[in-house]
Chain length 212, copies 2
């Protein structure tokens, strides 16, 4: 809602958006960009619950799938090839069942509020909620390679770049399949941040200044 | 540059990016999203020079084209159809000549520093400058329609939406033609902001908190 002043030409007051109380933050991120780190810091600073692997656990518990199975197939698309065609008797693929289970979990989590949710098309699933802030985090390849080598102790070699590309390719495909949108399109989100350029701490600060 | 601490597992200090002194801000924006308003406020608050129509004037002066011509063809692509094929004896279309003239103007303006530049592929032209912050501003259709009706005094009817789409379509085509990128791709910019959701003032505040 935009506040109007009596004089249409009084633009100053017009530019304020409705005061929002954000109860849910979703973080969609490129692998290695620090999106997860940002999410954890936000949860800590704001006293919000953090949902990442916890979603997997919730889904596994409620669906009967093994946690490792949910983790492997839940977000990174295996929709090309054999897996795509494994359907149950109702014609729903395993991937679809997982997606629906994750979607249910995410809707419940958001309803409880005060949470930060990482990935899993949560921005799309929660797009009708006015109390949800959707964030996209990305960075240039050098920053991501450097981060992954340092934080995950991987060897620095040519395969890192390929691994990053491969992981993001799967996320993009998964996202595209279930949302019909391009993952890296700015307008999917409310704010998109280059963590390599701005720095992780700055990204946290910017998001907090919106949410608080 | 990322500051390392002696202990690789000490992650807190690692996440700070280099302290940047931003001297140039580029604002790429959807029509009606308030990008121009944001740019003006930034220029005013930061004491920066504001470049929008001023680029057109500069280009017109230096190129000999009439200002109205530069304004009409400089940013909104006329590259489909007849116009695309008008070339001079060296094979450069009028559109290309204008783009090159604007590019030169933008490079000079950035070199002088302390400026806010609106549109015209400035983010792409200046992408190698470390002192430049590239911002993308967008909003949902309702917000943009509402804004255009209020601020530009246009009649509210079905043609507004079409006009917004048409204008953005031209900008997208112009941008794609000269940068080979999709205009609304988050990673083209350092920060992308939904001005409808966050509000114009909040967008100004977020950008200033990066730049100051």
């Amino acid at each position: 809602m935009i506040i109007y002043s009596k004089d249409k030409h009084e633009k100053i007051n017009i530019e304020r958006s409705e005061i929002m109380n954000y109860s849910v933050i979703t973080i969609t991120r490129e692998f290695g960009s620090g999106g997860r780190t940002i999410a954890k810091k936000l949860a800590e600073d704001l006293g919000f619950k953090y949902y990442d692997y916890e979603i997997i656990q919730k889904v596994a518990k409620e669906s009967g799938f093994a946690e490792s199975f949910v983790e492997e197939y839940g977000e990174e698309s295996q929709n090309t090839g054999f897996f795509a065609y494994l359907t149950n008797t109702w014609g729903t693929s395993l991937s679809d069942q997982l997606y629906l289970a994750e979607r249910r979990a995410i809707l419940e989590i958001a309803e409880q509020g005060n949470c930060v949710i990482v990935g899993r098309c949560a921005d799309y699933i929660l797009e009708d909620r006015k109390d949800t802030l959707n964030v996209f985090v990305y960075a240039d390849m050098e920053f991501k390679k450097d981060r992954i080598v340092r934080l995950y102790g991987e060897r620095e070699d040519k395969t890192i770049e390929k691994r990053i590309e491969e992981k993001d390719k799967r996320r993009k495909a998964h996202y595209k399949f279930y949302t019909d949108r391009n993952w890296n399109r700015a307008a999917n989100y409310h704010i998109s941040l280059d963590s390599g350029k701005l720095g992780i701490d700055k990204c946290v600060e910017l998001i907090e200044s919106i949410v608080k």
